[in-house]
């Protein structure tokens, strides 16, 4: 590549790789901002680096065209926002961007993740509010206590051993059912081992 720029390709490469000392970095950034050819090289080096790391991270040239259009639009704005460098002389400032920030589908994924997070938090808050309402209702009308499920996928959880003993006792004596001998006794004999 023919070197028509005020700064060498090596300096731009070192800037991209973060290998420049602080004072040198400030100088290269100042010169980069005033040299459009150098800016293209700087962008190309970033693309090369991205391609080397992952093809997915390599943006297309449309990004560059978009940047140019954005710059044009910003230049046309009557009140142009101040660039960061204008206030602080851009010394030592390195804007760190995520490696995948330029890929649209990653942004979409991030957006969906945020939406999902908002959904989960919202549901949780709603459930809490609902629970609070339930508690309030329970305080107002203590007719039937709330049900506590002692179930796990592996069968009834031994949450309260005493309850299981009473349940076993109920099954031993509680078979006063017309369906008891045909099916109830077999049912309990088969199933009561869980509680005994």
């Amino acid at each position: 590549m023919r070197d028509l720029k005020s700064i060498s390709n090596e300096s731009i490469s070192d800037l991209v790789d973060g290998r420049l000392p602080e004072d040198e970095c400030a100088r290269v950034v100042r010169e980069l901002l005033s040299d459009s050819e150098a800016q293209k090289t700087w962008y190309a080096y970033h693309v090369v680096g991205d391609v080397l790391r992952s093809a997915e991270l390599a943006p297309s040239m449309r990004d560059l065209a978009f940047l140019e259009r954005l710059e044009q639009r910003m230049a046309d704005e009557p009140t142009r926002p101040r660039a960061v460098g204008e206030a602080s002389d851009a010394v030592g400032i390195r804007v760190q961007q995520s490696a995948n920030a330029a890929v649209f589908r990653w942004k979409m994924l991030a957006g969906m993740a945020c939406t999902a997070l908002v959904g989960v938090v919202g549901l949780s808050l709603w459930a809490q509010i609902g629970h609070r309402n339930d508690l309030q209702m329970a305080r107002q009308a203590p007719a039937v206590p709330a049900t506590v499920t002692a179930e796990t996928g592996a069968g009834p959880m031994l949450r309260d051993a005493r309850l299981d003993e009473l349940m076993a006792a109920h099954r031993q004596l509680g078979g006063h059912s017309a369906l008891q001998v045909p099916a109830g006794f077999l049912r309990n004999a088969t199933y009561e081992g869980v509680a005994r």
Binding site: P145, G155, Q180, P182
Partner: protein
């Protein structure tokens, strides 16, 4: 013209009569209920008199258990052996109402008498049975279970205080080969069924009877004493619709193997509507152990409800909706 109009009127009359007859048949069809007690007696007798072996599977509350069953009827005696195929190894041997549970790993056998097992034939024959006041029987058609043709019936509760049941009864014998407990919304809470069944199986009665021997086992006999609620100072202020007191016992509930609860005596008052059963347990309140009041879903159709009543701790257990347990717990009254 007149002839035509008379003919038309006759035609419409015939159509109208046909339509009315059709509507009347449609209206009557769902209302045909089976005689409940006679049906219960049939399935009861079938279970007593049939000779069979099979594999029985119970699924309740997301968990399953299965067991191997041997059943014979030798004259007036019923012998039955149930060997667990899941969970802790155990075998239950039953000779009429005498039940022994064997735990082969700990070499412990629990021997008990289950009076309720002999209760129903006479109750079903007597006019005292009120099962028909609270359930109605509806035939649902035919199905095939474990290779056998079965008549399907629905036992529908007439109020909200009890669950319903769907029963698959083997066509020739009447033996129940599948049973579902169904909640008020029609959801199946638990199911018991033969996954494999051999009717009139060649069971060796002598060998089966020998398997009930407790030789080599330490036999525990739960100290169960008959009592009355009145003698313990308890009464029901208001009965729960359809449920009658079936018996009251005093027992150390911690009769289960390896229990850490000690042998504290507990009153157990048993109620039944003929199909569903509720036990009311009354213990002395202990603030260290009795900490949580409320309903617990024990899986399947079984619920428990705990409640403190002054110096007492009440636990209601039953295969009924939690509202029914609540009705029992608030109706219980201390008399002295």
């Amino acid at each position: 013209m007149r002839q035509l109009s008379a003919r038309s009127a006759g035609f419409f009359l015939v159509v109208l009569c046909g339509l009315m007859l059709h509507l009347s048949v449609r209206a009557q069809a769902p209302a045909v209920d089976m005689p409940l007690n006679a049906w219960l007696l049939r399935v009861h007798q079938a279970a007593r008199q049939s000779v069979y072996t099979g594999t029985y599977v119970v699924s309740a509350g997301g968990s399953m258990a299965s067991a191997r069953i041997w059943h014979v009827c030798d004259g007036s005696q019923q012998l039955e052996r149930v060997e667990s195929l899941s969970g802790a190894p155990r075998a239950i041997f039953r000779r009429n109402d005498q039940v022994v549970t064997f735990f082969p790993q700990s070499r412990i056998a629990i021997a008990e008498v289950r009076e309720s097992l002999g209760l129903f034939p006479s109750l079903l024959k007597s006019s005292d049975s009120s099962i028909g006041d609270f359930y109605r029987l509806k035939p649902l058609g035919v199905d095939r279970i474990a290779g056998f043709d079965a008549d399907v019936f629905q036992l529908l509760p007439k109020d909200q205080m009890r669950y319903g049941y769907r029963v698959w009864s083997e066509r020739k014998t009447g033996l129940i080969i599948q049973l579902q407990t169904v909640d008020l919304n029609g959801k199946v809470l638990e199911q018991s069924a033969f996954s494999e069944l051999q009717l009139d199986a060649p069971v060796n009665v002598g060998k089966l009877a020998k398997s009930g021997s407790t030789d080599g086992y330490r036999v525990l006999r739960p100290d169960l004493q008959k009592t009355t609620a009145d003698a313990h100072g308890w009464a029901m202020t208001k009965g729960v619709d359809g449920f009658k007191a079936m018996g009251c016992y005093q027992r150390p509930v911690a009769s289960t193997v390896g229990s850490a609860s000690g042998g504290q005596s507990t009153m157990q008052w048993v109620f039944s509507d003929g199909v569903a059963t509720v036990s009311l347990f009354v213990e002395v309140y202990d603030g260290r152990r009795h900490v949580r009041e409320g309903v617990t879903d024990m899986g399947g159709a079984t619920h428990t409800l705990t409640r403190r009543l002054d110096d007492w701790w009440i636990t209601a257990v039953g295969e009924v909706p939690s509202d029914t347990l609540h009705a029992f717990s608030v109706a219980l009254e201390r008399k002295k």
